[in-house]
Structure formats: C-alpha cells, structure tokens
C-alpha cells in the first residue's frame, strides 16, 4: 500500500510536469506572436516618402500623407511611387527622387489627364483592379470644353483632380467623394459659381443658385433621390459640354422619354430649332426647372404659350388645352372633397375614391400630351378622366343622399320604437293595476 507521502509526491511531480508544459506553450505562443509582429508586411514596407513628408512643417507637403490614408489607390495597394515615380525604399532624399529611378514629382495641370490616364486608360491594367471601370475617361475629357481649353493652354479649367481630389480620392459612390451624386453640383460650383474664376469665359455663374431652386434639386436634396439629375446627368461628366440647342430634348428625354418623343414629332420641333430656342428649356428653363403647372399650358397668368402665340391658331389650342386641364383638375378636386366629407360622415366610399385615381392618371396623361401641342390629343385623354371624376362626384352626392335617407329613416324608426316601448309600458301598468297581479 502506498503511503500518503508517496502519493502526494507523485501528485506533486505530475503537477510540476503540467506546469512546465503550460509555461512552454505560453512562451511559444508569445514568441511566435512577437516574431510575426516584427516581420514587416508589404503594406508596412519602408516608405521614405511618407516618413519624410509626414514630418515636414509645410502643410502643403505634409497633408497629402494624411489624405492618402483614405485614398482608393492606397486601399487597392498602390503607393506614392506608383504615381509619382522614384524609389521609396531609399532613405536618402536625392536617391529617392532621382530621375534615373523614374521620379516624376508633381505634374502640371497640363500633364494631369495623361498622368491619370497612364493607368486609367490602360484596359489591361485596370482590369486587375476594377474590371467594370471604364477606360475612356481621358478620351472623353479631350472632347469636353475643359479638355479642349486645356489643350489650348488654359490652366484654369478643371482637370481630373479638380473634381476627384488629389490624395484623398474616394470612389464615386462614397458619400464623401466630390463626385458623389449629392456633392456633384457643389463640386462644379467651386469654379462655375465663382465670378472671379469664371471671368473671361463669358458664361453666367448663377447656375448653381438656379439649380438649387429646381424640382430636380428638391428631389435630390430633400427627398434624397440619388437618381434625380444633377450637373453631370445633363452635361456629361468627363466629356462635359453644354448640350447643343437642338439636342436638349434628347438630354431631357433620358428621363422624360415620352415627353421628348412627343415634342420631337410636334409642330414645335422645327420652329424651336430654327429659332435656336433650346427645345425643352424654352418653356421649362434649364437650371431653374420649376415643377410644371397647368397654367403654363393655358393663355392666362403663368402661360408660356403666350410668349409666342397671341392671336393665332396656337393661341386657340393653348386656350383649349389650358381650359381642359383646369376643368379636369377642378372636377377631381370637387370629387375628392365630397368623397372625403362622405367618408368623414362614416359612409363607405372607398370604391369611388379608388376609381378617382383613374381620373388623376388621365390628368397626368393629358399633361404629358401637352407636348404634342394638339388640343384634340389632350382633350382625347381628358374626356374619359372627366367622366370618371363626374361619376366619383355623383357617388359622393349619392352617399350624402343615402346618409340623409338613413337619418330620416332613423327618426321614423325611433318614433315607432318608442311608441312600441310605451305600449308595453302601458300594458305593464294595466296588468299591475289589477289586484293580485302585481305581486305574487
């Protein structure tokens, strides 16, 4: 039989062995962690550009190192030398920036499109980073007003970096990017709303102020509808040019297809182009495009037709169209009002209310057909809608007639009911007035 001491000593030895294994394991894990930490990764390879520039007192030279931290190029694994050339492994400034090591330095504005295009126009190279990205930006830029002027030697025009930034370049769908849909107008406005900058170009600088009043800006900024048009949707982005006066309808037609199609076939197309009046913008303006009103199509206040038509067939058409739209609008409003009142009175009018939507659809259709400038076409769409609105109004009237009938019926019924109750009451009194009947 083993003594207690020997059992204890065996237990102690086992415990010591376990402790030794545990210490060795911890030591291995710790040392391996330290080993891997001390091995420089590719991202943390020595970069003398960053090391040197981050310590420079001049913000102009140090700031790029901070901005570059969030740059899409850094995210994709690129470094300073991939754009600027040179050798970042050299600690010596002259060696790092030696021309023999391909150092380019800061490109001039004239060089920037080619500088960016070195990679962005190389389809084979771009596929490695983003296969879906287009590679014709520089080509497009060359066709833009900016690109053409740059080639003529104008260094004030926008180049790639004016919109995309320099070192803090973000993807276009990044809300902090200057070319994110919500930021585009402000980015363009940096130059185009600056009178000093725009001096000499003989174009206005109030586009941004006007745009902010437009129905498009309301959709973009208030409803946060990122599909609402901003500068680049009409002017293009890399190939930015003002649309030609005869092709405005094509630009607007990207979204307002039906209206553009009707306009192209309308009698307005030929004279508008002849007069160089800018198709759609003749009536709707360009940057300050306000929500269209039915009054615009008539001959009264707010009419755009009367600026050309005074006492001709066009005036008569406009008058018919304006009256037709106003008439339907007022009939829909009248029907809505009576149906709402009937509903508040507790009547079931959901069906005529639903049907009234057809009238509203008809009104929308008629408003689109205004672009044909044909009173017959517009009236063709207005007639069935007017019929629906009239029927809905009649349904509202019927609901009130029914309500009145119910209330009269109720009064008659209540009189009868109370009379009946009175008769029963009198019967009880009669029974209980007889001796030995009231109580048992």
């Amino acid at each position: 039989m083993k003594s207690v001491a020997s059992i204890w000593s065996m237990g102690s030895r086992r415990r010591l062995l376990h402790l030794a294994i545990a210490v060795m394991f911890i030591a291995m894990v710790t040392s391996s962690a330290l080993f891997f930490r001390s091995t420089p990764s590719a991202a943390q390879a020595p970069n003398s550009c960053i090391e040197c520039h981050s310590g420079l007192p001049e913000e102009r030279l140090s700031k790029p190192t901070q901005l570059f931290d969030h740059d899409i190029h850094k995210v994709r694994g690129l470094s300073c030398v991939d754009c600027h050339g040179g050798d970042a492994t050299q600690a010596d400034k002259l060696a790092a920036k030696a021309a023999s090591r391909g150092y380019i330095g800061k490109p001039s504005p004239m060089q920037i499109p080619a500088f960016c295009g070195k990679c962005h126009s190389d389809a084979a190279l771009m596929k490695k980073f983003n296969p879906s990205l287009r590679v014709d930006q520089v080509q497009e830029y060359d066709t833009s007003v900016h690109g053409r002027r740059l080639k003529e030697g104008d260094k004030n025009v926008a180049t790639c970096v004016s919109c995309h930034g320099i070192h803090g370049i973000r993807e276009p769908d990044d809300p902090q990017s200057g070319v994110f849909a919500l930021n585009v107008a402000e980015t363009c406005a940096q130059c185009h709303a600056n009178p000093e900058h725009m001096q000499g170009y003989q174009i206005p600088h109030d586009q941004f102020e006007k745009y902010k009043m437009s129905v498009h800006a309301k959709a973009l900024y208030e409803k946060r509808d990122l599909s609402a048009p901003t500068c680049n949707d009409c002017h293009g982005n890399h190939g930015a040019v003002p649309p030609g006066l005869a092709s405005v309808a094509n630009v607007c037609g990207q979204c307002h297809g039906r209206q553009a199609e009707l306009f192209q076939k309308s009698p307005h197309k030929e004279p508008f182009d002849r007069m160089q009046s800018g198709e759609c913008i003749r009536c709707h303006n360009n940057h300050d495009i306000l929500p269209p009103t039915d009054q615009m199509a008539g001959v009264g206040e707010g009419s755009v037709c009367t600026s050309c038509h005074t006492n001709d067939a066009g005036f008569a058409s406009a008058q018919r169209i304006g009256q037709g739209l106003a008439n339907l609008q007022s009939n829909i409003h009248r029907a809505e009002e009576i149906l709402d009142r009937a509903e508040r009175a507790g009547m079931e009018v959901s069906r005529p209310k639903f049907e009234l939507r057809d009238a509203a659809d008809g009104l929308t259709q008629a408003r689109v057909l205004v672009h044909t400038v044909s009173a017959e076409e517009v009236e063709g769409a207005l007639a069935p809608a007017l019929d629906v609105a009239t029927k809905s109004y009649s349904a509202g009237e019927a609901a009130f007639a029914e309500l009145s009938y119910r209330r009269k019926g109720l009064v008659v019924s209540l009189v009868f009911i109370l009379f009946l109750a009175l008769l029963v009451y009198l019967k009880i009194r009669q029974i209980e007035s007889e001796p030995d009947e009231a109580e048992a």
Partner: protein, 355 residues
C-alpha cells in the same frame, strides 16, 4: 272544443306545453333595490339573438377568403339593400353584447349570486364570456381590413408567447406561421361553426340552470321578506321594453356612426401607427405595454400573459374559493378585490384609448 284549445291540447300531448307554461307562470323574480341588475342577463341574451340573425344575413353575401372577403363586405355595405344596417348592427351589437356581459358578470359577482347551489351557473357564465370574446376576436378579422389584420397579428403573437403551448397555439390559430388567407378561413370556421355550436350547448346549460335554481337574492336580503314579481308577464314585459330600446340604440348607432370598413389588408405593407385591439382587450394590451422587459428573471410580457391566464382560470373558481360569500372577512376581501379589478380594467382601457 274550440279550435285554439284543440291545437294547444295537440301540442301539449306531444311537447308537454302545459307543463312548460305552468313552470313559466310560477317563475318569480325577487324585487329589491338591486333588481335592475337582473335585466342584464336577458339583455345579453337578446343581443346574442341579434348577432345570430344579423350574422346569418351577412353570411348570404360574405365570402371567406383573402381575395374576396374585403370586397364582399364592401359590397354588403354599398350595394346590398340595407346591407349597411345589418353590418353595422352586427358590429355594434357585438360590442354592446360584451359590455352587457361584463355588467351581468360583475353584478352577479358583487351580489354573490354564484353561491351554492349556483356554482355551475357561474362556471357556464364564465365559459360564455370567453366564448363571446372568442366570437369578437375571430369576427374582427373577417372584413380583412388593415386594422383587423395587424390586430390579429399582434393578438396571435401574444398567444404565441405562452410557455410550452405558445408556438402550437400560434400555428393553430393562424393556420401557419403568419396571418394569411388560411387564418381568415380558419377564423371564419371558428366564428360561424365551432363557437356557435359550443355557445348553443353552454347557453342551453346556463339557461337551464337559471330556471332550475331561480333568481338569486343578494345575501343582505336572504333573511328578510322580499317582494316578488311574476316572470310571466311582468318581468318579461320589462325585459321587452329594454330589448325594444336596445333596437333603437343599435339603429341610431348604425345610422349615425356606421361601422368603418377601412383599407383592405396588405400583408406586405408596414403596420400602420396606433394599432389597437378591440376595447375589451385593451386593458390587457395596455398592461403588457407598461410591463418592463424583465421582471426579476422572467420576461415581462410573458409574466403579464401568465398573470392574465391565471386570472382567467381563477374567474372560474370564484364560487369555490369564496364558500361563505355573504358573510365575514372573506366577503370584504372579495368585494374589494372585485372593485380593484373593475377600476383597473376601466383605467387601463381609458389610458389605452388616450395614448
């Protein structure tokens, strides 16, 4: 023998008519200062009959599936002659029935009318209360409108929180995991077949027991001479006055405040704000809203549901828990408890409406 007597004789031989008439003629109702509460049982029964008649009329046009239910109710209230009246009376009468039932139950409770030998009358009465609430819950969904859809979703969700049987109950009620057309068909089945059959049986039992034991006298009148009124015709004629006036109230409510139909249910639409159950569930719904997420280690909502479930079960047991209802400390305890419950229900219902 004149012709009327011959018919009566013929019926008596086959149905025991004379015996039934004799029982009715001998039936008496005590007259005291609390006699007014006796009328609420008859009122509840009358409103139930209104429900049966209007319900059958609605069945002529109602189509119990998700595609047509709303449209069929819409058709009833807009196209069918007096359909609006029948539908509104059915809805208003359902609510007045529950109200009359609550008044009847609490009057019986406070007058201790459940005491021996009327324990089973109380138990069948409580069963009728739950059956009526079942009618209300199942009927609420049938128009398949937005409010009903989401209220049923919330209501069945609460049932689904019950421990052990919760998930089964939820799936049983909904006919699946979600409120769908299957739920509507199922609720229709409960509303027009299962619940009426059960109610007919339990109501028959309840009425039989009322006849068997007669009207209870409050304990304070037990040892004094109480005047009595013949049931036929004196009490019945008074009942009839109440029923006639109830018809007037229902007609006025239907004509002045027609029951809303709302929007058709859209299972993919977000729940509209301010979803509330029917008023008789509101005190429970509001209480669950006030309970904290955790009470000690139990989920707050679950605790609330358990308390209400236990409360419902205790309601059945009232006559057995309070064996000497007319006297002593126990009487006071039960009376105070009853007042607290009524005040709680009323306050929480009002708060539920105002918030």
């Amino acid at each position: 023998m004149i012709k009327g007597d011959a018919v009566r004789e013929w019926l008596d031989q086959r149905l025991g008519l004379n015996m039934a008439i004799a029982i009715a003629e001998h039936k008496e109702v005590p007259r005291h200062k609390h006699s007014v509460w006796y009328y609420f049982g008859g009122m509840t029964l009358f409103l139930f009959m209104v429900q049966v008649v209007t319900g059958i009329l609605l069945l002529l046009y109602y189509r119990p599936n998700a595609e047509n239910a709303f449209e069929s109710v819409q058709f009833i209230v807009t196209e069918v002659e007096f359909g609006w009246l029948i539908r509104s009376v059915h809805s208003w009468s359902a609510n007045l029935l529950i109200l009359a039932l609550f008044i009847h139950m609490f009057s019986v409770y406070f007058m201790s009318a459940y005491r021996a030998p009327r324990e089973m009358t109380w138990v069948t009465g409580v069963l009728l209360l739950f059956l009526s609430i079942g009618f209300g819950f199942s009927g609420y969904l049938l128009p398949w409108n937005e409010l009903a859809f989401f209220a049923t979703k919330v209501g069945t969700d609460i049932a689904g929180d019950l421990p052990v049987i919760g998930h089964f109950t939820l799936r049983f009620l909904r006919g699946g995991d979600d409120v769908t057309g299957a739920t509507l068909t199922r609720f229709f089945g409960f509303h027009v077949a299962v619940l009426p059959a059960l109610t007919t049986a339990v109501l028959g039992m309840h009425l039989y027991l009322v006849q068997l034991h007669g009207m209870s006298v409050p304990p304070s009148f037990e040892n004094v001479e109480v005047k009595k009124m013949k049931f036929l015709p004196n009490f019945l004629l008074r009942d009839v006055i109440g029923w006639i006036l109830a018809i007037g109230v229902l007609a006025a409510l239907a004509a002045i405040f027609p029951w809303e139909l709302g929007q058709k249910a859209d299972p993919f639409a977000p729940a509209p704000a301010g979803i509330k159950p029917e008023w008789y569930f509101l005190f429970m719904f509001q209480t669950l809203k006030y309970l904290p997420a955790k009470v000690l280690f139990i989920d707050g909502e679950l605790l609330g549901i358990l308390v209400f479930t236990i409360g419902g079960l205790l309601l059945f047991l009232v006559p057995f828990l309070n064996k000497t209802p007319g006297h002593g400390r126990r009487k006071t305890v039960f009376q105070v408890f009853g007042v607290v419950v009524v005040v709680f229900m009323v306050v929480m219902t009002i708060v539920g409406y105002l918030t």
